[in-house]
């Protein structure tokens, strides 16, 4: 499941890499109303393409993929970014805990292993750390990377995120919602590559909105009650 916005330069290789990792995987690209050739490139490389009629934001796009997985009865779903920063050859790491039945949600984290190579700019690192600490406290489990877009879900996770997923800047809040809903979360170390093309959707101007919105969302999510998911597990 690959959300993509104007990634025609990278999406072909992303799809190819997933298919060469395991040809039996159905690759679903959710095109969030790109103005370039993202959708047709993805289709040409053999992906199932869901075209959103207008831009709904990353969270809404990702949730489209979860709903697709829910509707078509998939037991496992992986989400990775359309810009090529996630390495599909690391998919097995994310899928192992799910296949062993030890987790419902596996997050590819850049910070499990302190020796990891990801070195973000200082301000971003502080932000990542603060959100990770907050989610850890509110969710009751240590989380190292709440802003990662590389994750894998089992059926219980798909069922949760298909109905419960924030629409903009979703990752931090979604992690807390997962914990509060009783999903078993596990983290594996992944490396992230430099962007191949396009630019990060988080610009400096939007950072303030990002921080305030996520803080409010975390506050509110910790005040809400979420139905526990024990019952739906296989």
């Amino acid at each position: 499941m690959v959300p993509a916005l104007n990634e025609s330069g990278a999406i072909g290789r992303v799809v190819d890499e997933i298919r060469s990792f395991d040809p039996s995987i159905d690759v679903v690209v959710v095109d969030d109303a790109s103005t370039d050739e993202t959708a047709s490139v993805a289709e040409a490389h053999g992906a199932i393409v869901l075209r959103l009629p207008f831009n709904v934001g990353i969270g809404g796009a990702v949730q489209t993929g979860f709903r697709y997985a829910l509707e078509h009865g998939y037991d496992l779903a992986v989400r990775l970014d359309g810009d090529g920063q996630h390495d599909a050859s690391e998919l097995s790491k994310l899928l192992e805990p799910l296949e062993r039945g030890e987790a419902d949600l596996v997050i590819g984290s850049r910070f499990v292993d302190p020796g990891g190579s990801y070195r973000p700019p200082f301000a971003r690192l502080v932000g990542i750390r603060v959100f990770a600490r907050l989610v850890s406290i509110l969710g009751g489990q240590r989380v190292t990377d709440t802003t990662s877009g590389f994750l894998a879900l089992d059926r219980a996770g798909i069922e949760l995120f298909a109905v419960e997923y924030p629409h903009d800047y979703p990752e931090v809040e979604a992690t807390l919602v997962a914990l509060r809903s009783g999903l078993r979360l596990s983290q594996v170390q992944v490396e992230m590559r430099e962007r191949e093309s396009g630019s990060s959707s988080i610009t400096f101007v939007r950072s303030l909105y990002y921080i305030v919105k996520v803080m409010l969302a975390l506050l509110v999510a910790s005040l809400r009650r979420y139905p526990r998911l024990e019952g739906v597990r296989r």
């Binding site: 009629p53 207008f54 924030p166 629409h167 903009d168 909105y209 305030v212 919105k213 409010l216 969302a217 506050l219 509110v220 005040l223 809400r224």
Partner: protein
């Protein structure tokens, strides 16, 4: 100087606004995105109500010498205008999106109709 009673009532009203907005978000009747401006309104009005010297100073800057609480009303009005303007932009986008959706449904229905020219026979249950 601002009458104490005005400060107390102003602060209480701002607090009430903040609590109502938070409760609406918690109950999913208001999205975070649309709550932020309301929260900013509540915080600014709360600060101006509780911080009496500050309100006086700002009133002085603005040339409001006879009755500082007038600044409270002015700021509240300004924020209401901002919220309304924000909503106008939101409604404009929703209108465009809605037209887009309607057009896409029309095109899809036409395509489905062409793929299945005759109605399938009614199932006998």
């Amino acid at each position: 100087m601002t009458p104490v009673r005005v400060s107390v009532v102003g602060a209480a009203a701002s607090l009430l606004l903040l609590l109502v907005v938070l409760e609406l978000v918690r109950g999913r009747r208001l999205k975070e995105r649309y709550a932020l401006l309301w929260l900013a309104t509540g915080v600014v009005l709360l600060v101006l109500s509780a911080w009496r010297d500050g309100l006086n100073t700002i009133a002085g800057w603005l040339g409001v010498t006879s009755y500082p609480p007038a600044v409270l009303f002015a700021v509240a009005t300004l924020f209401i205008l901002l919220v309304l303007l924000h909503y106008s932009t939101v409604i404009s986008k929703l209108t465009d999106d809605n037209v887009d959706l309607a057009q896409r449904i029309a095109l899809l229905e036409e395509r489905i109709g062409r793929a299945r020219p005759t109605e399938p026979p009614a199932r006998a249950d």
